[in-house]
């Protein structure tokens, strides 16, 4: 296959189709709607399931039902819609079903705006729905990564029996870049032994539920889920490092913030500042061991996010506050421009740096002077 100029949202949709997506259920919301629109034509054309649901609430429960059959299923939405799906997601997690979710994040809270944001980090990485569960979350920062990660998300979801997220924002959703789509995979023909597809041939009936009246039974289910999560923490460590070999400083950022930081890091390098970039590709589980390991070699870290420092807390936990950390964020549906991050790199390189206090407080004090 040759490279094509593809829009992020549509590329994810087609990548899912080629990964063997069997049913999609969604609801329109900007800046995700191209995904729904694309699949409204593509899925029926291939004889596969597509429903534009009456709400995100219904959409996620359609996903829940279809996932019970062992089929490859997906939905997509943007922040306010994702909030509405949280009930269903908790049930899906509790039923230990593989499902692929796409969140094209936008500014918030509330109805917010359509601008690019990373404000759903905590909702996705640290919870969202009720109860003890974890999700896997992949954070592409360009169209090719979005394609590759979407294809892999279905495998990961099935391998770990976990909700697997593709977390982007309007910037990655709307951008067009050259990228290559994978070949069309055949649809699944064999299904796991838990799938409720009808008890054919007189086999024992199966039950899929997230309801355990016996608290000890529920505890056992929770521990089983936790075991898979621990396996993911050990094995699913993905990141991309730029200019890290001789780096004295590093910027850490994911998705859009990560790629924007790359421009700033290059500009700083051109000035002779030994700064690198660590861009986590998997944000849940957060690559804490990697951050801890690089932190030991660094004089200072700058975390850049399009929120008020959500991943920052994970970085601070990983560094155990042994390495100075600074933070720069844009909130409310805004993306930083490279020169803003470059200025923060200058501040980092100039020092003085500290491990005391909280980087969010220092950032907040700086921006409050201007607001």
């Amino acid at each position: 296959m040759s490279r094509q100029l593809l829009k992020g949202n549509e590329a994810i949709a087609e990548a899912a189709v080629r990964a063997g997506l069997q049913a999609y259920f969604g609801y329109p919301i900007t800046p995700q709607t191209e995904l729904l629109e694309y699949l409204s034509l593509r899925m029926p054309e291939l004889g596969r399931g597509f429903v534009q649901a009456e709400s995100e609430l219904a959409a996620i429960n359609m996903v829940y039902g279809a996932a019970c059959t062992g089929a490859r299923v997906m939905t997509s939405s943007s922040s306010p819609g994702i909030s509405l799906m949280m009930e269903g997601l908790s049930y899906i997690a509790g039923t230990e079903l593989p499902v692929v979710m796409v969140d094209v994040m936008r500014g918030g809270p509330g109805l917010g705006n359509l601008g690019p944001s990373q404000g759903d980090y905590n909702q996705i990485v640290h919870g969202g729905g009720h109860g003890d569960y974890h999700c896997l979350a992949l954070a592409p920062s360009n169209v090719q990564e979005a394609i590759d990660m979407t294809a892999e998300a279905f495998d990961l979801a099935e391998q770990y029996r976990m909700i697997t997220w593709i977390v982007i924002d309007g910037l990655i959703g709307q951008i067009m870049e050259p990228a290559e789509l994978p070949p069309m995979q055949p649809l699944k023909t064999s299904y796991p032994d838990w799938a409720t597809r009808g008890a054919e041939g007189g086999r024992k009936a199966r039950l899929l539920k997230s309801f355990y009246v016996d608290t000890l039974e529920e505890e056992a289910v929770n521990i089983r889920m936790l075991k898979r999560w621990q396996e993911a923490r050990e094995h699913l460590v993905r990141y991309r490092a730029y200019y890290m070999e001789d780096a004295q400083f590093a910027v850490i950022g994911f998705g859009s913030a990560g790629r924007i930081a790359l421009s700033a890091v290059r500009a700083a390098r051109a000035e002779g500042i030994k700064v690198g970039l660590l861009r986590p590709l998997v944000i849940s589980p957060f690559p804490e061991a990697v951050v801890r390991e690089v932190a030991d070699r660094l004089e200072g870290i700058l975390v850049v996010e399009m929120n008020a420092g959500m991943m920052l807390d994970d970085v601070l936990l990983a560094t155990e506050k042994k390495t100075p950390v600074e933070f720069y964020g844009r909130v409310g549906g805004n993306a930083p421009l490279p020169d803003e991050i470059l200025e923060e790199i200058h501040r980092l390189a100039k020092g003085p740096l500290t491990t005391s206090g909280h980087p969010r407080d220092r950032w907040f004090n700086r921006i409050s002077k201007n607001n």
């Binding site: 259920f25 009456e54 609430l57 219904a58 359609m62 829940y64 089929a71 009808g198 041939g201 309801f211």
Partner: protein, 261 residues
């Protein structure tokens, strides 16, 4: 003559449907969930569709439908069973998919899902149990609670000025073009139970023929939360519920009226 020979001579007229598990009922004495479960199991047996059928259990007393009806089952979030059934049916269009929902589940928190599943003509079957209250949580007011009826959250009786009027689900859903079969039956006596079974059979047959959304509403008793004995409860259903919720066929696709069951 030993017992075996004796049995061979007898004609068996009543037995547990093979699609009903052997588990003893966990429902309250006089509750008609058990009757409704049995009717569904009998229909599945008669149609020979146990291996193709997937049930969706709701939240409420009847979540335990999965313990008694021996088919593949999934358990939905409160009110979302029609959406979940939609997902299953779209992934497996050749299977028979049914939801089993109470009134609190279906027409309170799940109003959006049931209305849209019906209007899409989703090819699923809904067994709708109307006992005029939220039973599992201890008898609170439901959308189906009758005017003046006392519940734990309408202790002075449902005041329609403050709490609005009951919803008649069949009458509402029958207006939607996507529906093929929408009827109301009752489980308060044997004659009505037989009519209910026939309706459940037709509803499943409608789905098997790809005719779109089918629903059988079953007026049911809840002696515990009504504060009545089982016998009083059936009487109360007949005297109080039937006038407000008239039994009958609200939508029957012409093809189905010719169906010989």
């Amino acid at each position: 003559m030993n017992i075996r020979q004796e049995m061979e001579m007898e004609e068996i007229i009543y037995r547990r449907p093979s699609t009903l598990t052997e588990l003893s009922t966990g429902y309250c004495p006089g509750c008609t969930h058990g009757v409704a479960h049995r009717l569904v199991a009998e229909v599945i047996d008669e149609m020979g569709i146990r291996g193709q059928t997937i049930g969706v259990a709701p939240v409420g007393c009847s979540v335990f439908a999965y313990k008694f009806i021996d088919v593949d089952f999934v358990q939905a979030a409160h009110g979302r069973a029609p959406a979940m059934a939609t997902g299953i049916k779209r992934a497996l269009p050749d299977r028979i998919v049914f939801t089993y929902q109470g009134d609190g589940d279906m027409i309170s928190i799940g109003t959006g899902e049931i209305v849209h599943a019906a209007t899409r003509g989703e090819n699923i079957t809904v067994i709708f149990i109307n006992n005029a209250n939220f039973a599992m949580t201890g008898g609170q007011m439901a959308p189906t609670t009758l005017p003046g009826m006392k519940t734990t959250s309408s202790p002075l009786g449902r005041d329609v000025e403050q709490m609005g009027y009951p919803i008649r689900a069949c009458e509402v859903l029958a207006t939607l073009d996507g529906t093929s079969y929408v009827v109301r039956r009752s489980l308060h006596n044997p004659k009505n139970i037989r009519m209910a079974k026939k309706a459940i059979r037709i509803a499943f047959e409608a789905q098997a023929r790809g005719m779109g959304f089918s629903m059988v509403e079953l007026l049911s008793t809840c002696p515990t939360n009504w504060g009545l004995s089982p016998v009083q409860a059936t009487k109360w259903l007949e005297e109080k519920m039937l006038p407000y919720y008239p039994l009958g066929d609200y939508k029957v696709h012409p093809t189905l009226s010719d169906l010989k069951i």
